[in-house]
């Protein structure tokens, strides 16, 4: 087969995967954008082009603004906590020597659990009558999921519980990519352990940290499962994130145009976050990461 034939074969092999991405991901995304410019409520038989009216409505929609704030707060706090908690764990894993596999398998369990199960687990733990918290602290347990601020923080807590292991494993991969001789050389040069961490490990870990922040913040911003199970957005709509508001607008209220507009705003936020982190990563393209 000639080189040209080889390229043609390559194109034929790539086509199905490309088509799958285009048909079920990019196509629907464009359709969502188009839908967001329409007023469409199938049950009422309404369907007309309204331009940016849906977005205009969102700008004055207190529930939407609340959802946006909830999502942003959830993302920022959850990701920050996960990073802070994951770094010591990653270092411990890196230096644990024998038995590292055991710790790794153990911390993998929360991450691999369905988020629904993680949320259910904590819902049961926080259950005001019979949960573990109620046994330890009977007076406080009732408040956790019924007070808005506490409920949102409970959702953040569950996300931190479930996802810190993932961040730790990402950072561990970054740590393992740093040549050991660098730390040894620095020790020989007279640096203390703390100094080695500050001057060698941390700077070289920067790309891994930024990548973890990138992946986690994009993931956290589309939060749905935890809140759906733990608080159902309540009390009221006080813990409702964008994905859940969009879901309810689309499927419970059947207002497709408005739901699409919320979805698209969510998407654009994700794009903005992604681009911000990518520019922080600088010239390093994801494909060349360690």
């Amino acid at each position: 087969m000639s080189a040209r034939g080889e390229r043609r074969l390559g194109a034929a092999l790539v086509a199905p995967a490309g088509a799958a991405l285009a048909l079920v991901a990019l196509g629907p995304l464009l359709a969502t954008a188009w839908l967001s410019l329409r007023h469409r409520v199938p049950v009422l038989g309404e369907d007309r082009f309204v331009g940016l009216a849906n977005y205009g409505a969102l700008a004055h929609d207190a529930r939407f603004l609340g959802a946006l704030a909830n999502t942003a707060y959830f993302t920022a706090l959850a990701v920050a906590l996960e990073l802070v908690l994951a770094l010591p764990l990653a270092l411990a894993l890196h230096h644990a020597g024998r038995g590292r596999g055991g710790i790794r398998a153990a911390v993998l369990v929360p991450w691999i659990l369905p988020t629904v199960v993680a949320a259910k687990l904590w819902a049961l733990l926080l259950q005001p009558d019979l949960g573990l918290l109620a046994r330890i602290w009977p007076d406080g347990a009732g408040a956790v999921l019924t007070r808005p601020r506490l409920a949102l923080h409970a959702a953040i807590f569950v996300d931190v519980w479930k996802t810190t292991p993932f961040v730790a494993l990402l950072l561990l991969a970054g740590l393992q990519a740093i040549p050991e001789d660098l730390a040894r050389a620095a020790r020989v040069d007279g640096a203390s352990a703390l100094r080695v961490f500050r001057s060698i490990t941390l700077p070289l870990l920067r790309p891994a940290i930024l990548l973890a922040l990138l992946f986690r913040s994009l993931d956290a911003f589309r939060v749905f499962d935890v809140v759906f199970v733990l608080t159902e957005g309540g009390p009221g709509h006080t813990t409702e994130p964008l994905s859940l508001y969009a879901y309810r607008t689309l499927l419970r209220a059947g207002s497709f145009g408005l739901g699409a507009a919320i979805s698209l705003v969510t998407f654009l936020c994700v794009v903005a976050i992604g681009l911000a982190w990518l520019s922080a990563l600088g010239e390093r393209r994801p494909a060349e990461a360690p």
Binding site: L13, P114, A212, R222, Y247, L251, F267
Partner: protein, 267 residues
């Protein structure tokens, strides 16, 4: 940091991650009548039996197995040839496809839910398991593509060239030399896709409406709400829904870790 220090740091984490699960396990064996007591006098399987009674949860586990298995198989069937072509055949636009796949994997699922809902209804696939497998597959292709492309790229280029000089066609070299060598990476990709499909909630709760078609996350998310099951039965149901993926995590932890960090760090 000495291993001793490392373990000292790791132990609180282990407690934090595992004790809640231990409590869940204990609760699932806790006789309902003894819930008021600080500890149960004996353990029972009644709660698990009750969770499975009515068949809803068992049915959901079966549905999830079918959906996750089919998703993993389809995603690999699409991704492996494409990954080979990108890694070894010098396809034009290969990098662009990888970048597009990465972008797609970052989509919030809600951003495509409405048109997919309409399309599935038009194709009469709404509320069917295949109707869930299709979007799952296309959202798993990015992960599979990145992992398997990475695996193929990690194989020495000379092996492919040697197979070609030894008389293989490009596809022959793929089938006889590269694919057997990439098997561990391909298996890892399949495992992670399986776990993704097993855990997914938003699409499942959107596209499936009949109780008999629910997957595990949907069944569990709606479990307490509908039946007002006792506390301990909920705990048992959560335990049962967890067992398959936890088994995967423990049995294949090395592969899963390699895959999730490669997928995330490279992809």
């Amino acid at each position: 940091m000495s291993p001793r220090t490392a373990w000292t740091i790791a132990l609180p984490y282990l407690a934090f991650f595992l004790l809640p699960l231990g409590w869940l396990a204990l609760t699932s064996f806790w006789p309902d009548a003894e819930l008021a007591r600080p500890l149960p006098s004996h353990l029972t399987l009644e709660n698990h039996a009750a969770a499975l009674a009515g068949g809803g949860l068992a049915r959901a586990v079966l549905n999830s197995l079918l959906v996750s298995g089919a998703t993993a198989a389809l995603a690999l069937a699409l991704a492996a040839p494409a990954a080979f072509a990108i890694a070894r055949l010098g396809v034009r636009g290969g990098r662009a496809l990888l970048a597009a796949a990465l972008a797609v994997s970052m989509f919030p699922p809600i951003a495509t839910a409405a048109p997919l809902y309409a399309a599935l209804r038009a194709a009469r696939l709404l509320d069917t398991l295949p109707g869930l497998v299709l979007p799952y597959t296309s959202f798993s292709v990015p992960l599979a593509l990145w992992l398997v492309t990475g695996t193929f790229r990690a194989l020495p280029l000379e092996l492919y060239r040697a197979a070609r000089v030894d008389g293989c066609t490009p596809l022959g070299a793929f089938r006889r030399v590269l694919l057997p060598l990439a098997a561990p990476g391909v298996a890892t990709a399949g495992l992670l896709v399986f776990v993704f499909a097993w855990n997914e909630l938003l699409y499942a709760v959107t596209f499936l409406t009949s109780p008999s078609r629910r997957t595990v996350p949907v069944a569990l998310a709606l479990f307490g709400g509908e039946f007002r099951d006792p506390f301990v039965v909920l705990a048992a149901a959560s335990m049962l829904a967890t067992v398959p993926v936890v088994a995967i995590a423990v049995l294949f932890q090395r592969r899963v870790v390699a895959g999730l960090t490669a997928g995330a760090v490279k992809g």
